[in-house]
């Protein structure tokens, strides 16, 4: 089975936010929940780079490690998912996540958290594949349809790549070799404990 990963080529990312709205569109993510976002580093200065970030579906995922109710699971494609019927909205995954991926609707007591929501790599959730229940709770299941996450598929400059880790690393490697520069695959070191060797 493939080991699914995201790879963001920050030399291509222009902060157009297509990934963000594509995600909203595909998964009908409500206002205030941002499964994906674009952060600009060194804004307005030489060396400015924008990076689109969501759950990276880490190897040895910290969220899964700290979850008090053990609601996370890893699919055969190495996508890190969670079961909202088990989540209690404690927030621990947010403390542990290096990428600020977990999102919470504010609906508990004292404005505290509802059930955690995050990027599913467009792979749905524990409900039956492509069922309405799955869509309503988790959003689309594009992997089950044989497609990849819409954020990456719609990325305006093809900066955001999604797919089998080896394949996208190879695409990135060729790109860097061709153009002669590369700022590294953002988040890989943190998420996968490796970078793309050029």
């Amino acid at each position: 089975m493939a080991r699914m990963k995201f790879l963001l080529d920050s030399d291509r990312c222009i902060e157009c936010n297509a990934c963000v709205t594509a995600c909203k569109n595909e998964n009908e993510v409500p206002w205030g929940i941002n499964r994906r976002r674009v952060v600009t580093l060194n804004d307005g200065k030489a060396g400015e780079r924008s990076v689109s970030m969501a759950c990276m579906h880490c190897t040895d995922a910290p969220c899964a490690a700290v979850c008090p109710v053990s609601c996370f699971y890893t699919t055969a494609d190495a996508v890190v998912l969670h079961d909202k019927d088990l989540c209690i909205g404690c927030g621990y995954c947010f403390y542990a996540c290096p990428f600020a991926a977990p999102q919470y609707p504010r609906l508990g007591n004292f404005g505290s958290r509802g059930k955690m929501d995050k990027c599913t790599f467009c792979a749905g959730g524990p409900q039956e594949d492509l069922s309405e229940a799955e869509y309503i709770q988790y959003g689309a299941n594009r992997l089950a349809e044989g497609k990849l996450p819409l954020c990456a598929e719609m990325c305006s400059t093809k900066a955001l790549l999604a797919g089998d880790g080896e394949v996208i690393a190879q695409i990135y490697r060729e790109r860097v070799q061709k153009r002669g520069y590369g700022s590294g695959a953002w988040g890989w070191l943190t998420a996968y404990r490796e970078s793309v060797a050029i």
């Binding site: 976002r37 060194n42 804004d43 780079r49 008090p68 209690i88 290096p98 600020a100 590294g184």
Partner: protein
């Protein structure tokens, strides 16, 4: 600033040199945008940028502190909590086996003296019952996954944990209120003085014989009081930081809050176990202080001789037990 104070507090009050130093989010401006270079430059600090959505915590691109927090939660806290709670239980068991139940010297007199009035007792039990639920629901978040989940299965465990979370959040308020009241009504009797030093020197009477002098509260009880008040304050303050996410602090602050909160809490639990032991199983005649409020005069003389003398001098003579009531009054 708040964070720094809390960190100091943690280290001073709890003597936790082991709390990992949390670097503050003073983002340098690296000239390169390579993840590796940026992280090296920041020495593991948060990589922070600009974002257009109002949720400014999303502007943190990478926060490696999460890794430290995970290490803390899964390793440090588990060990400290485990050792503190189980260790204290073990210690008390051994103590009980060795020392046994401390009897009332000379047996019960049959005469009692009012040690805690109804308000004091009610407040104590409010705090105590909140504490027990908070402690259990708190321990559940750290240990439940390993202890209860395999027993109950995921759905039932989530149900329990979910209600536990609600209970934890809601009971925080009466718990805090009770702590404040405790401070107000008992602080005057808990100011350390010379007697305490002598009491401590004498080993509190727990070891060996010969109970040292003691006022309303002996040094041990004063210790409990201050641990409860200060530890409770630390737990409460950090708890409110967590209950209102991102209202007072950012994710780094919340991680730190959680660290202080959980370590203080497990230590408090350990101390409270000792408190419960000594107030019930460990000492004959103690539990009435918080049930009826009336303690046997002999017990009182044995453990709080100065207080008894003071009370008697004030003319609040010891009340005879209910059974002896008929003798004079009617």
């Amino acid at each position: 600033m708040m964070i720094r104070i809390l960190a100091l507090l943690a280290i001073l009050v709890l003597g936790l040199g082991a709390v990992p130093a949390m670097a503050q989010g003073t983002t340098a401006s690296p000239s390169l945008a390579d993840e590796r270079a940026v992280q090296a430059l920041l020495r593991g600090e948060t990589v922070h940028g600009r974002i257009t959505i109002p949720d400014q915590r999303a502007a943190n691109l990478i926060q490696p502190e999460g890794r430290k927090w995970r290490e803390f939660h899964n390793v440090t806290l588990a060990w400290v909590g485990g050792i503190a709670v189980l260790g204290m239980l073990a210690l008390l068991s051994v103590f009980f086996l060795v020392r046994g139940r401390i009897p009332i010297e000379g047996g019960r007199s049959g005469r009692t003296i009012l040690r805690f009035n109804a308000f004091e007792r009610a407040n104590h039990w409010m705090v105590a019952s909140c504490f027990i639920v908070l402690a259990l629901s708190g321990l559940n978040l750290t240990f439940g996954r390993h202890v209860l989940l395999p027993l109950m299965g995921p759905e039932a465990f989530t149900e329990v944990s979910h209600w536990g979370k609600y209970a934890h959040n809601f009971l925080a308020f009466p718990f805090t209120l009770g702590l404040v009241l405790m401070l107000l009504i008992w602080v005057k009797d808990n100011i350390p003085n010379g007697t305490d030093i002598r009491w401590l020197k004498a080993g509190g009477g727990l070891v060996g014989h010969g109970e040292p002098d003691s006022g309303r509260f002996n040094a041990g009880q004063k210790g409990i009081f201050w641990i409860t008040v200060l530890g409770g304050a630390a737990v409460a303050v950090t708890g409110y930081m967590l209950i209102f996410p991102f209202v007072f602090t950012d994710v780094t602050g919340m991680q730190l809050s959680h660290m202080i909160h959980s370590i203080t809490a497990v230590l408090l639990i350990a101390v409270m176990l000792a408190h419960i032991y000594i107030g019930t199983l460990g000492m004959d005649g103690a539990v009435e202080a918080m049930t009826t409020g009336q303690v046997d005069l002999n017990w009182a003389k044995q453990h709080h001789n100065l207080w008894v003398a003071e009370e008697l001098a004030k003319g609040r003579a010891a009340t005879p037990p209910d059974t002896a009531k008929a003798a004079g009054a009617d």
